[in-house]
Subunit: 256 residues, 2 copies
């Protein structure tokens, strides 16, 4: 099991608050001792930090936790290795460029039988490491590459169809983004919450920290946070259903 | 003008020493105030840090300078913007995956007329930002993708031929790596040095720092450093010739 954390916001937003809850699970309060990674989109660019070391005591994690990086889309992952050795190239999130956009992907779960989907002659995108997650991402991106020129609706429907196929091979909870949209697919367990004015005080589940969002934000801010388990104890999180794809843009749920 | 810094080594080596000389030029002793980036290969994985802010006072640069990341191949770049706005997506080095390897690229110079080379229907790799450098890299990678299954010698010859074509469009000093090899192409200005036992004391040009490599290394270590200008004052650097491609692997020059 791995922990996923995603964010979509309509203004560049600092995710420090949610990240400090997640990072505690990297060997602190959870069993996820095999590395972590986080990608922050800023405009069309993406900034990534990753470490095969446990998040709980990683120097880089400590730096990120304290360094305010404002971003509109964030994808983060803390890993417990099941398939693939513990190494930098096996650490999520994974990134590939398609049609002049960086696509970023993180996965929770295990998949069996991927070789039945993947073209033995090599897909356009190929994994660098040896995880089932990166292989699934490369297959998914190779399918998207075949749908060049699709409308956003067609692309969303292709992503749903690919995710459904992958979910038949095991557990496939996914975060995927192209800088604008955050695609969230639930196979077994994912929760999300959209925060907007008036902002209240949120209390983290794993840490003795609370933040008053009203102090940090304006009345127009909309911020959605997605996580494997609810990160706060005093808010209502939406529990996703198996087989559900939720798509967020600028903090808002855009599909129905 | 931008500053390039590359490293190839036969054992994971800490580049802090050379990086601290380079980073000073990011607004400190040089005119390169428009961002910097660095990529460290560790195995097949790559760890990157980039910042559109000047290196001279960037928080992330300070962190990297002090945090010992041991790597076998490093590519770094400090930018003075000529083409393309100052933004994260325009910050070198650029990375793309081809055939299950991460390729990393940094460029110094300006190119004019790239549109004559690039397929107007879109190449396989496409730039995310709007620099001539990233467009050149995507074109180069698209040519390499067409040469699938080539031998290392054929690939090297294709890289040389592409670099020659790009150099006809302006100034094209380049660092390129696939994790194993560091390809260095000189259009106007690049220097390199290979350090091996017995190691002496090196003195940085831009900083009052010297390091005794003998204390940090074993007798088997071989480390090549490539830079726009020599970084040290008390060593003999090899000055590259216009149109020359030098290829390093595990610290050693492997082409002739």
């Amino acid at each position: 099991m791995c922990e996923l954390l995603g964010m979509s916001a309509n203004v560049p937003t600092d995710i420090c608050f949610s990240f400090s809850g997640l990072i505690k699970r990297g060997g602190g309060t959870g069993p996820h001792r095999d590395g972590w990674g986080i990608a922050f989109y800023q405009g069309k660019g993406v900034r990534e930090f990753r470490d095969p070391q446990p998040g709980f005591n990683s120097e880089i994690a400590r730096f990120i936790k304290d360094f305010p990086i404002k971003s509109t889309v964030v994808i983060s992952h803390i890993r417990q290795a099941n398939v693939g050795k513990v190494s930098l190239e096996n650490t999520h999130p994974f990134i590939r460029e398609l049609e002049g956009r960086y696509w970023c992907f993180a996965h929770n779960g295990q998949l069996k039988g991927l070789e039945l989907l993947i073209d033995p002659n090599g897909e356009r995108f190929m994994p660098v490491g040896d995880t089932d997650s990166e292989a699934a991402f490369c297959w998914l991106m190779s399918q998207l590459a075949k749908g060049r020129g699709q409308s956003p609706e067609e692309r969303q429907s292709l992503i749903k169809s690919c995710a459904d196929q992958l979910a038949r091979l095991g557990v496939f909870n996914m975060l995927l983004s192209d800088a604008d949209r955050l695609y969230v697919y639930c196979s077994t367990k994912l929760h999300w919450i959209t925060r907007r004015a008036p902002f209240g005080v949120a209390t983290l589940h794993d840490d003795d920290i609370s933040a008053n969002f009203g102090e940090e934000t304006t009345v127009n801010d909309v911020v959605t946070v997605v996580a494997t388990e609810p990160l706060t104890t005093n808010e209502e999180w939406v529990k996703m259903q198996p087989g559900e794809l939720a798509v967020f843009e600028r903090g808002e749920l855009v599909n129905t």
